[in-house]
């Protein structure tokens, strides 16, 4: 049997102290679709970026069709017949599709010839693979799905025999996903090799021939897709048997603490992100929100937390109406706590010492306050206490926030938000990029709050997490609520289908 199209041997890569890839090896047969799965932060993108020459590996070897290849930059990769569709698109928004496609492969000092050729090729790809897109459209004005097509066309235009797609479906509508898979299937039939990175087991089962699993920077398994099943993959992914949902605490039926009515949110460009969403959470209840990322969950949370203006709708916390104008600080004062989905982007200030991150959003709280000044002593002591109670390592309030590990950073955020004894807690992606030990700890804390009679809104892309914690699961798709289920009345399959927007039968099952 002939040499694999791609062979990675002992690839190792560190970012500062973050060990993103640890001696990773991987082989992909030509003319197949190979899936790579792994949790957030497992190292998938890093590995692919190395294969594409975007990052340089600290050590390790790459072989293409058996021949050792020195891939130090994307140019080498392209020359070796490798193309990549990045998780975050690499397009020039204000330029036309054709210009984007020809960029770097203009064929001549003048653009005229290249443009003509690009147009022709784009048309051909349209015919042959159903990659239809107007060559003269401004890329920035295209839908995400179409932009992704442009990325694929770019790769093909450069004659890519091996195509890497990094989480291509995360941002796609179910329909778009279907189309994408048809294209991939067609490419495979034409003998091209495809590397597909994703979180979604459903997709792995649907289209791949073989699959590899990454965990915390290591490659933990290579399997024939036929010979495995989602549950096995999931366990490999998270490195443990998925615990049966903890049934210890029954959902209390207290008074509603968070009520959202007909909430609609539009973004800066006036495009509606959340459409007329209503729900309420009672004391001692955990409401989970499921959905493919980018379907309005973030906007929903930001609107409730006062970080985004609402276009219409009403919000009540513990029965008190939240005024339109109220900003995040004001809403916190009303008894809301918020663990944001991206701690680096907004949850912390990585350049500041830990104690300053630990008072973020509470800076005006009486206990940190000394007239117009910050009561340093109090702030530091207070942080030290939190660190002790939440087992943050190292327990040093003066250490630069950036120098704590992902999980420990998350613990700092959690401690800050939980310890204000809020009525309502919003937790978004609480365990993203956090290792198992920390995950268990964090889950326990959330359940403690439930026991203490708080209302909790849990947003997560990890169905396991939702099923482990939530009493009710509410599914969002395209900014709208497509359904609500009691945990014990549903399963990951049904929710998965609803997330894909394929099923919204009985959306009103629970009032």
């Amino acid at each position: 049997m002939d040499a694999p199209a791609i062979e990675l041997i002992g690839i190792d890569k560190r970012f500062g102290a973050v060990h993103a890839n640890r001696a990773v090896s991987l082989a992909v047969r030509a003319g197949t679709i190979h899936g790579v799965i792994g949790e957030n932060g497992a190292g998938k993108s890093t590995l692919m970026s190395i294969l594409f020459g975007f990052y340089e590996a600290d050590s390790g070897e790459i072989r293409v069709h058996g021949r050792p290849a020195r891939i130090l930059n994307p140019a080498d990769a392209i020359a070796a017949g490798i193309g990549m569709v990045h998780q975050h698109f690499m397009l020039v928004a204000p330029m036309r599709v054709a210009e984007n496609v020809m960029l770097g492969a203009e064929g001549g000092a003048l653009t005229a010839g290249g443009l003509a050729r690009a147009r022709a090729e784009i048309a051909r790809f349209g015919r042959e693979y159903g990659l239809l897109v107007d060559p003269d459209a401004i890329v920035g004005e295209l839908s995400v799905g179409l932009q992704q097509r442009v990325e694929i066309i770019k790769a093909l235009y450069r004659g890519a025999e091996i195509l890497i797609l990094d989480e291509p479906t995360g941002v796609l509508t179910p329909a778009e996903t279907e189309q994408l898979f048809r294209v991939l299937d067609e490419l495979r039939r034409q003998g091209r090799t495809i590397l597909l990175i994703t979180h979604k087991l459903r997709e792995i089962m649907a289209i791949t021939d073989t699959v590899s699993v990454m965990r915390r920077g290591e490659m933990v398994a290579h399997l024939e897709t036929r010979a495995t099943n989602p549950r096995a993959l999931a366990e490999l992914m998270v490195g443990r048997a998925i615990q049966p949902p903890m049934r210890d605490i029954p959902a209390a039926e207290g008074r509603p603490l968070l009520e959202v009515e007909n909430l609609t949110v539009t973004d800066a460009r006036g495009i509606p992100r959340v459409r007329n969403v209503s729900f309420s959470i009672r004391a001692g209840e955990i409401l989970g929100i499921a959905g493919v990322s980018g379907n309005g969950q973030s906007e929903l949370v930001e609107a409730i937390a006062g970080m985004m203006p609402r276009a219409s709708g009403a919000i009540r916390i513990a029965g008190r109406a939240v005024p339109e104008a109220a900003d995040a600080a004001r809403i916190r004062a009303m008894g809301l706590a918020h663990v944001p989905e991206d701690r680096h982007r907004m949850g912390l200030v990585t350049a500041f010492p830990a104690y300053e991150s630990a008072m973020l959003g509470r800076q005006d709280a009486p206990r940190y306050r000394a007239g117009p000044f910050v009561d340093l002593a109090a702030a530091i002591a207070d942080t030290a206490g939190k660190m002790a109670r939440f087992d943050v390592r190292p327990p040093d309030p003066l250490l630069k926030t950036a120098n704590f590990s992902g999980g420990n950073q998350q613990k700092i955020v959690l401690a800050r938000e939980i310890e204000t004894d809020p009525d309502v807690l919003i937790v978004a992606q609480p365990t993203r990029g956090v290792d198992i030990g920390a995950i268990a700890f964090i889950h326990r804390r959330i359940l403690d709050l439930k026991a203490a009679g708080k209302a909790i809104l849990l947003v997560s892309v990890e169905l396991d997490e939702l099923f482990a914690l939530a009493d009710r699961i509410l599914v969002m798709c395209g900014g709208a609520l497509v359904g609500t289920r009691r945990r014990e009345e549903t399963d990951q399959n049904e929710i998965g289908l609803m997330m894909a927007g394929l099923d919204n039968a009985g959306a009103e099952a629970v009032p």
């Binding site: 930059n73 020039v92 210009e99 960029l103 653009t111």
Partner: protein
């Protein structure tokens, strides 16, 4: 007719005054389109003015002066490139530094070499660019309207003026019709896209920064070797910044840039003529108002009260792969 000739005189002067602006403006256009903000245009022009004046003085050749001017500006452009591209330093800070360096060094050396308070002696004869009379200028003068316009405004400028005027369409062509231009425009919007397309971002940006240097050199040399026939400390007097204003005004487009610079040149020509003149009825004009106009207009435009000026998305941000 008398009035028409007067108007032509003003246009002629506006054109002369607009040339340094146009050079600097196009210079800034290359740099910023490639994502490197450059508030050091002023300094580069000043350095070029000094180098060209001193060289022309020494060699007696205006061409040698021009060459030296270009070289000096290129040197500073390289410094800016090294700081902003290779070292990923703050582009504004680097620009400020270059302005200070140029202002200080030129005055210092001028003072030491010629001790005339930093000035160079006046350039005479071959050390200055002679005014070129275009063919038929005098014969066509007879033609009503267009004739005098051709003779007065179009014809009779030194070489650098025509170079600058050619640079405008040339820039347009380079930017919108060549591979290099396509890449420059791309790298100013999204360097990662250029990188993943297999193009070296650094080299590309350096090329743009050097183009910027060349044009600054042309502008500065014109001022010293042609316009003022010598160097004076700080003779650029803020032209580099007006050029930035013009660049914003033109929304980073070459042809519009020429327009903006001509407009600002016209304002300047007007201001010069109105200085201290008592107009019947109006009385004396507060010239400062006219002189401040370009800046005020730019602020208004930036504020988006009229139109909107959006710079290339990646301009000002050093390109770093690892987050």
């Amino acid at each position: 007719m008398e009035g028409y000739l007067l108007a032509l005189g003003v246009l002629d002067s506006a054109l002369r005054l607009a040339v340094p602006l146009t050079c600097a403006c196009l210079a800034g256009l290359y740099s910023e389109r490639a994502g490197v903000v450059d508030i050091g245009l002023e300094g580069k022009m000043l350095a070029a003015a000094f180098a060209s004046a001193t060289t022309a003085l020494a060699t007696g050749s205006a061409m040698a002066g021009l060459a030296a001017g270009l070289a000096a500006a290129l040197m500073l452009a390289l410094v800016h490139g090294f700081a902003c591209i290779s070292q990923r330093g703050n582009q504004i800070v680097s620009g400020v530094a270059i302005n200070m360096l140029a202002a200080g060094l030129t005055a210092l050396l001028g003072h030491v070499w010629y001790n005339q308070g930093g000035r160079t002696p006046a350039l005479e004869g071959g050390a200055r660019f002679a005014e070129i009379a275009l063919p038929l200028a005098e014969t066509l003068r007879a033609v009503p309207l267009l004739g005098p316009f051709y003779a007065e405004v179009v014809s009779g400028h030194p070489l650098p003026v025509y170079l600058a005027l050619v640079a405008v369409p040339a820039t347009w062509f380079l930017l919108y019709r060549t591979r290099w231009g396509l890449r420059i425009r791309a790298v100013g919007e999204n360097p990662a896209a250029v990188d993943t397309a297999g193009i070296a971002v650094g080299r590309l940006r350096y090329s743009a920064v050097l183009a910027c240097g060349l044009l600054c050199g042309l502008g500065g040399s014109y001022m010293a070797v042609s316009q003022a026939a010598g160097f004076l400390p700080n003779m650029t007097a803020g032209k580099g910044f007006i050029a930035l204003a013009a660049l914003i005004f033109a929304k980073w487009r070459p042809l519009a840039a020429l327009g903006a610079c001509l407009l600002f040149g016209l304002l300047d020509a007007g201001a010069i003529r109105l200085q201290g003149v008592i107009l019947p009825g109006i009385g004396s004009v507060p010239v400062q108002a006219i002189q401040a106009l370009p800046y005020i207009l730019t602020v208004i435009l930036l504020a988006g009260f009229v139109g909107r000026a959006i710079p290339p998305r990646a301009s000002g941000i050093p390109y770093v792969k690892e987050r």
